[in-house]
Amino acid sequence: MNHLIRAIQRDGYQINKSSYTCLTCSFIRRQISQSTLKPKPLIATNVTVDKHLPISSVIRPPIVPEPVIEKNCSDKEWTESRIDMKDLHQHYLKLSKSRLTSLVVVTTMAGYAMAPAPFDLVTFILCSAGTGMVSGAANSINQYHEVPFDAQMSRTKNRLLVRGILTPIHALTFAAVSGSLGLVTLYYGVNPVTAALGAANLFLYTSIYTPMKRLSILNTWIGSVVGAIPPLMGWAGCTGGVIDSGGLLLAGLLYAWQFPHFNALSWNLRPDYSRAGYRMMSVTNPGLCRRTALRYTIGIFGLCCAAPFCELTNIYFSIAVSPLNAYFVYLAWKFHQNSDSKTSRNLFRFSLIHLPALMILLFVNKHGLWSGNSKPKENSEVIAVNKDEKIISSIFKKAEPL
């Protein structure tokens, strides 16, 4: 313990403190402002932080009413569905659900970075870009299929096709161009295995998962498989098509993460799901919904402990990630014991912090990153562990007031 403290005093204190907290903060802030769960606390926390500043009273009034006025306008008037060429790129970003797509690309990048083969920048960029394009195509096909269903739920009622801004054929043309471009990039720029995984995932998402939402409770499991394939694509892109235990473990982590994340999110949307006909676990089997959330957080804990044995990370990863996973299990346990809007919201928010933190820890503790393939040196170990401790402590500081 003493050497840790000494290391913090010596040089650890400055290392990347601000950059890590900023990364996590901005990620959470973006996610929260998007989610419909509770947009207000963001404004509220800003206000409480800025209360003692004299300018806060000047800034505050315009922040709150602006979106309300804008919403009223678009909700009450007839608008022409003419497309302005200036806004077209924004429409395409919305059509491909840019936030979700960027999360998918980040997991692909993580898969690529964690694979044991040497890092090649060109392949890395082609792999990420190709995956992004395929993901964009999948999302626009999904929106094409879902128009009347999306219109029923407050979370999705403002999507482009629901509002009639783009025609269905426009969305499909975009999907066809972006999807084929993405698959061609993956096939010729990366390797056929990655392209095949991308095509399979595109099919799975648009043709099986989307209709299954109204057919069977199994949709959440299918959706989790869809979420687990992007890191495999990154892994296969790096190793040239070989997927071994490390890649599967990474995919398993992503697969397991979907359950606490989605179950907590869907808990508060039960009335909407029931009316719109979505057979989500939270409505059709609430008990199972709570249990799976808990089970899979424990699964994440187990997988993280197994990571060093697959030569994915060093042994310090399992130690460093334990408090993070333990808190995740604790929140899932709370949700399991007493499921209400508060516990589900806490679990959902922490899942948004958990994933990027897990990615950072994975990469920082990558097997053989600090020392080639030989045994790690004393010094780098101390700094690596030290960094992790700081990331975790910064995360916990952020997580508790929520």
Binding site: I169, R214, R270, S274, V283, P286
Partner: protein, 130 residues
């Protein structure tokens, strides 16, 4: 409202947005086919969701009334979730038929749109030849 369709605010019950389709001066057969099909599908969608949502509201009120008769004035989230599950289960078949019916209709619309675009492209080629 010159030469494009215009989209209205969402309907309070069906939650779908009505669309006023623009009718061009010299409407070709393919354009007319597409427009009529879109009106037909929009009407079908509107009817389905109006019925469905009204039924949901009515049955929820009935369930709440049933609870209050038993002496429970405000239903908890858990009690309501029983109704949500029940409603979903009873409407499984309706939703399945609607879902695939809608996919078929949606694909027909896209096919007609492709026809229209093809027709327009041929017209353009003819104009440029002269």
């Amino acid at each position: 409202m010159n030469n494009v369709d215009s989209v209205g605010p969402p309907d309070p019950v069906s939650n779908l947005r009505p669309i006023k389709y623009h009718i061009p001066k010299h409407e070709s057969l393919v354009e007319r086919q597409l427009r009529l099909k879109r009106i037909e599908v929009a009407k079908w969608n509107h009817e389905f969701w109006t019925n469905h949502n009204l039924r949901f509201i009515k049955e929820r009120e009935a369930y709440k009334k049933c609870l209050s008769d038993k002496g429970i004035s405000t239903a908890t989230a858990d009690q309501m979730s029983e109704f949500y599950k029940d409603f979903l289960d009873r409407n499984w078949k309706t939703h399945m038929t609607y879902n695939f019916e809608w996919y078929k209709k949606n694909i027909t619309i896209v096919r007609l749109m492709m026809n229209k675009n093809m027709f327009k492209a041929i017209q353009w080629i003819k104009i440029f030849k002269f």
